[in-house]
Subunit: 601 residues, 2 copies
C-alpha cells in the first residue's frame, strides 16, 4: 500500500475538491498560506507518522509503560518519535505566527493530527494532550501564565494533561471533590484524587503541566462551583528553569485494553498538603473554560476514531487483494485456482461498509474542522453564526458516530483477515482494541446523545437544528436544479430522511412539553444514531456529486471516483434505511427500559 495510514488521494479529494479549503487562504489570518503550504504541513505530518510513529505502534502496545514505584519507563522509540514531531513545529500548527506557530487553519491542523493518530494513537496522545492544555492556557490564562508555560509546551519541553475525572465523578463532573485552598501569595493548595489521567506521568518531557478541575472552599455545589487550575509537576521559575517537585504523586498506572502506549494514571494531588496550583480564569469558570475547547477536542476524538478505522480498512483491503481463498459459488471444479478474497461478494460488502464509514467519517470530521475555521475567520458575520450553530449540533455527532461505526469497521477488518486478523501478528486487532476507548472518553456515547437531544436540538428554540437541516436540504435541492442526474435518487432519499428527522424531532418535542424529561431522553441514543446516519448520507451525497461531476485525468483517478460513487451507493442503499427503523422506535417512544425495574434485571 502507498500509505498504511490514509489514502492521500482521498485526503486531497476531501480537502480540495469537496471542502475547497483553499478558499481559506483568502482570509486575512491565512493570507500567507496557499495550497503548497497546506500540503507541506500535511506531507511533514505524514512523513513523521510513517517514519517515526507507525513503526513502533505495535511495540508500544506489547511493551506498555511500566511504573516501578518511582519512575515510569516507556520504550525509547516513544521519546524519539515525540522529539521528532516537536522539532517539526507541528505541535504549534494552529498557533499564531507571533507565538512561533504556523498559523494554519484548524482544518489543516486537524488533518495533521489525524494522520499522526492513525499512525500511533498511543504515542501521539502525549502531543494531543499538550496541544489541548496549551490552548486552554492561551484562551483563559493570564499573560503571566501564558508566558510562563506555553512557550515550553509549544516547544515540547513540557507536556500537558487534563485532570477532570475522579473515582466518584466520571460522567458526572459536577460531583468532583478536589479542593483548592487560596493562599496569601495568590496561589492555591490543591488536594484530591484524579483518575484516568492520560499522560499523567512519564519521563518523556522535562515537566508536565496538569490542568486540574477543583473546588474553592466556598464554591457552590455542582458544576457551577468548579474552577480550573494549572498544577505543574515541577514548579517553573521566572527564567523558565524548573523549581521544586510539586506534591503530585503517581498512585498507579491503569492497564487498558488498548491505547496501551499512553500511560493512564491515578494521581494524588496534595498528599503531603503541599500541592501548588494557579487558577486559570475566574472562580467557577472551570467547566466554561473546558467547554470552550470541547468542540475541537471532540472533533479530535471523532477523527481519531476515523483514522483507526481507516488503518484497518486499508490493511484489510490490501489483504483481500492479495489473499486467495475459495471459489465462486457454483464453481464445482476444485482444480481451478482459488479466488481473491476481494472477488467474494461478502468480502466486498465488508470492504464497502468500511470504506463508507471511514471515508464518510473523515469527510464529516474535516467538514466540522472547516466550521471551526468559519466560526472564527469567515468574513461574514451571519456565516460565522451559522457555522457556530452547525458546529454546536454536529459536535456530539462527530464525536460519537465514528466512535461507533469506525469501530464496526475495525470489526469487519478483523473478519476479512479471519484467523490472521485475530492475532497480534497482524495490526487489525490492535486498531479494534485502541478504538474501543473512543465511545467512552471525552463524554460517553450516552452523554453525547443527551447533549444532542437534550441541549443542542433545543437551544435557541431549535436554531442550530434548523440551520443543519436547511444546509442538508439545500444540497438535495441543488441536485434537482443542476444535477448530476446520477445523484437524483440519492437526493430524494436524503429529503425523505430529512422529513423523517423533522417529524421525529417534532414528535419528541411534544413529549418534552409534558415536562417528562426522562421519557423525552429515554431513546436519545437512537436519535443520535439516526441523526448521525442522515448527516453521513448528506456527506456521501456531497462526495457523490463531486465525484460524478469530476473529470478524471488518469485511469487511477477514474477508479478512485468510481470507488467514491460505489461507497455513496452502498451508504444510501444499505445504511440510510436504518434511519426509518430508529425513527419508528423514537415515534413510538419505546419505553421498555423505563417500565423495567432494576430488580428485574
Amino acid at each position: 500500500m502507498n500509505s498504511p495510514i490514509v489514502n492521500r488521494r482521498d485526503l486531497d479529494f476531501l480537502l480540495y475538491e469537496l471542502l475547497d479549503v483553499e478558499r481559506l487562504t483568502e482570509r486575512e489570518r491565512y493570507a500567507e498560506h496557499n495550497r503548497e503550504t497546506f500540503d507541506a504541513a500535511i506531507e511533514t505530518a505524514h512523513r513523521v507518522a510513517v517514519d517515526h510513529l507507525y513503526p513502533h505502534n505495535r511495540k508500544n502496545d506489547l511493551q506498555e509503560p511500566e511504573f516501578d514505584g518511582d519512575t515510569v519507563t516507556t520504550i525509547p522509540e516513544v521519546k524519539q518519535a515525540l522529539d521528532v514531531y516537536c522539532d517539526t513545529g507541528l505541535i504549534a500548527a494552529a498557533q499564531d505566527f507571533d507565538r512561533g506557530g504556523m498559523q494554519l487553519p484548524a482544518t489543516i491542523a486537524q488533518t495533521c493530527t489525524a494522520i499522526a493518530k492513525g499512525a500511533n494513537v498511543g504515542t501521539f496522545a502525549y502531543i494531543g494532550l499538550t496541544v489541548a492544555a496549551t490552548n486552554l492556557i492561551l484562551a483563559h490564562g493570564s499573560d503571566e501564565q501564558i508566558e510562563r508555560y506555553t512557550p515550553h509546551m509549544l516547544s515540547g519541553r513540557f507536556f500537558g494533561t487534563m485532570c477532570l475525572s475522579e473515582p466518584q465523578a466520571g460522567s458526572s463532573l459536577g460531583d468532583l471533590r478536589t479542593r483548592a485552598t487560596p493562599q496569601d501569595d495568590g496561589s492555591y493548595r490543591i488536594q484530591g484524587n484524579k483518575i484516568w489521567i492520560s499522560a499523567g506521568d512519564h519521563e518523556l518531557s522535562e515537566n508536565i503541566v496538569h490542568m486540574v478541575l477543583a473546588r474553592l472552599p466556598d464554591a457552590p455545589p455542582g458544576v457551577k462551583g468548579i474552577s480550573l487550575f494549572i498544577v505543574p509537576k515541577y514548579l517553573v521559575n521566572d527564567d523558565g528553569s524548573l523549581g521544586r517537585r510539586n506534591d503530585v504523586k503517581l498512585a498507579g498506572l491503569i492497564h487498558k485494553m488498548g491505547y496501551r502506549g499512553t500511560t493512564s494514571t491515578m494521581l494524588n494531588f496534595g498528599e503531603s498538603g503541599d500541592c501548588v496550583g494557579y487558577m486559570v480564569g475566574g472562580p467557577g469558570d472551570g467547566l466554561k473554560c473546558m467547554f470552550h475547547m470541547m468542540n475541537e477536542a471532540r472533533i479530535g476524538v471523532g477523527l481519531g476514531a476515523v483514522m483507526l478505522g481507516y488503518g484497518g480498512y486499508l490493511h484489510s483491503r490490501d489483504y483481500a487483494l492479495e489473499r486467495r481463498q475459495g471459489r465462486a459459488p457454483g464453481e464445482k471444479d476444485p482444480t481451478t485456482p482459488q479466488r481473491l478474497l476481494a472477488e467474494h461478494a461478502d468480502v466486498r460488502r465488508m470492504l464497502l461498509a468500511q470504506k463508507s464509514y471511514v471515508e464518510g467519517g473523515l469527510a464529516l470530521g474535516l467538514y466540522c474542522a472547516t466550521l471551526v475555521d468559519d466560526e472564527r475567520t469567515h468574513p461574514d458575520a451571519s456565516a460565522r453564526a451559522d457555522a457556530a450553530r452547525q458546529l454546536a449540533i454536529l459536535t456530539p455527532i462527530i464525536k460519537s458516530w465514528p466512535s461507533d461505526y469506525c469501530l464496526r469497521a475495525n470489526d469487519l477488518a478483523i473478519q476479512i483477515l479471519g484467523g490472521y486478523g485475530y492475532t497480534r501478528e497482524y495490526p487489525v486487532e490492535q486498531y479494534f482494541r485502541d478504538n474501543r476507548l473512543n465511545p467512552i472518553h471525552e463524554g460517553t456515547h450516552g452523554i453525547q446523545a443527551q447533549d444532542l437531544l437534550g441541549r443542542k436540538v433545543r437551544q435557541e428554540d431549535g436554531a442550530a437544528f434548523r440551520c443543519l437541516v436547511d444546509a442538508m436540504r439545500r444540497t438535495a435541492d441543488d441536485v434537482d436544479r443542476s444535477g448530476p442526474a446520477a445523484m437524483a435518487g440519492h437526493a430524494d432519499a436524503l429529503r425523505r430522511a430529512l422529513d423523517t428527522l423533522c417529524d421525529t424531532t417534532q414528535a419528541l418535542a411534544t413529549v418534552a412539553e409534558t415536562g417528562d424529561q426522562e421519557r423525552y431522553l429515554a431513546n436519545a441514543s437512537y436519535y443520535l444514531e439516526m441523526t448521525g446516519h442522515i448527516v453521513m448520507a448528506w456527506l456521501w451525497l456531497r462526495q457523490g456529486i463531486t465525484a460524478a461531476d469530476a473529470t478524471p485525468a488518469t485511469d487511477d483517478d477514474r477508479a478512485f471516483y468510481q470507488g467514491k460513487l460505489a461507497a455513496c451507493r452502498y451508504f444510501f442503499n444499505v445504511e440510510l434505511p436504518k434511519v426509518h427503523y430508529h425513527a419508528d422506535l423514537l415515534r413510538q417512544v419505546e419505553d421498555t427500559p423505563l417500565t423495567t425495574e432494576p430488580a428485574w434485571l
Copy 2:
C-alpha cells in the same frame, strides 16, 4: 452476585420450565436419570467452574502460554483445574455407561460445558477439543482405535486436537495439501503443515491425539479427496503405555487477541519424514466424518459465545446496581445523592439488550441441544426426522447469532462500566476479546450464511425450512387459541415476521432459478441475521408464554418472571423490527458489492 457465570434460576427455567428436559428421562437411554442426577451434574460443573476455572481466568489471559523452543509452559492453575475437571468424570458426561460415561443427554452435557466455558474459555478449550476428538474416534474409528485411544482421552490422560486448517486452506478446506502415504503395515506417513491448531502442544496431558485431515497420494482434488487420520504426539503401545515421540513438531505459537489461555499453534507433520498416522473411516471420508460432529461442535461454539456474553451481562448488571453516577434528567439540585447507574434509562436499555441477547442465546443453544437428543432418542421416527431437519437449519444460526449478538452484549457491558470497563482490572474487556474469536472459528460468519441460504434452506426441496417455520407458526397460533393474552401482540408480530421470511425466501428462490449463484448468495449475511432474529423472537415468545403462565412462589420468583417478560418485550419492540430492514435489502437483491470492482476499493 450469586454466580459470576450464569443465573442458576434462569438455567432452571430454560431446562425445566421452557424445554422440559425431564421428559428425556422417559427414554430408555436416560431411564436411570432424573432431575436430581441432571442437577447433580450441573452442580458439579458449576462448582468446578467457580472454584477452579474462574479464579485464574484473568491470570491465564495475562500470562499466556510460552514456548522456549522446546517446551510449552502454562501457569500451574491450568493443569490443576483440568485435573479436577477430569476427575469429576464430566469429560465423559454424554458417553455410554459401558464406556465409563454418565450417559447424560446432550442437553445436560452441553449445559455443563457451557458453564465451564463461561468460567474460563481459555483453559476449558483443552477439554472441549478432547471431547470432540474422542467423539470422532468413537463414531468412526475401528474397535482397535477406540480401545487404544478413547479410554485415555475420557480419563483426561490424553488430550485431543482438530487439525484442519493450513496456511493456504482456511475456509476453503478442499484446498488442503497435507499428504498421507500408505505403508505396508497399514499405517500412513503424514507430511504437511497445519495452522490455528488449538491446544496443539502443551505439557498438560501425557499425550496429544491429533485428528488430522490429509490426502492420499491418489486422492481426487477437492473435498472428496480428504481423509481423516489419528496422529498421536507419542505412539501408544498395546498396553496403553507411550512409545516413541512421533514426528509432529511445534513450529510456533500464535499470539491472539483473546482466548489467550489456549495455545494456538502451527504444527509441522513429518518434517523428518517419520510421522505416523492411522486412518479413521475410509479413504475420502474425512470431511463426512468431521461433518458428522459439526452440529454439536457448532452448538458448542454458539453456547460458548452466549456464556461470554452472559458473564459480561451479570458483571455489568451488578455494577449498575452498585455504582452511583449522575442524576435524573431535569434534576437541577447537585446536592441530591447520585443515582444508581441502573436507574438511568439508557443504562437499563443496555442491560435489557444484553439480557435479551444472552438469555435468548442460551435458550436457543439449549433448544438445539434438545434437538440433538430428539434426533437420537425420540421414540417417534417422524419426530426424530423433524428434529434432524430443524437441527440442520438451526446449526448455522446457533453458531453465528450468538457470535454476533453476544459479542455486542460484551461491547455494551464495557460501555456500562465506562473507563473501568476498558481496563484489565475488570473482567468485561476480556470477555469481549475472548468472544471475538467466535465469529471466525468453526466456520466464519460468511461460511454460516452460505451454509444456511446455499444449502440448508434448499435441501430436501425446502423441507428443513418448512419444518422450522411450521414450528414457529404453531407457537404463535397456540397463543391465539389458548393465550396468554399478554402474548397476543408478540404472536402477531412473529407471524408477520414469518410471512416476511417466507416471502423473502421465495423471492430469493426466483433469483436462484436464474442460475446466478453469485447473485443468489450475495446477501446471504443479511439473510442469516434476519432468520436469526426471527428464531430468537420465537424463543422469546416461548419464554414469554412460560413466564406469563407461571405462578411465582416468592417475590424473587415474581421479579424473575417480570424480567423475562421485560426482555421479551424489549426483543419484540426493539430487535425484531430489524427483520424488515434486512428483508428489504434481500428483496431488492442489493447488489452494490457485485457491481463494485475490486480495483475501485
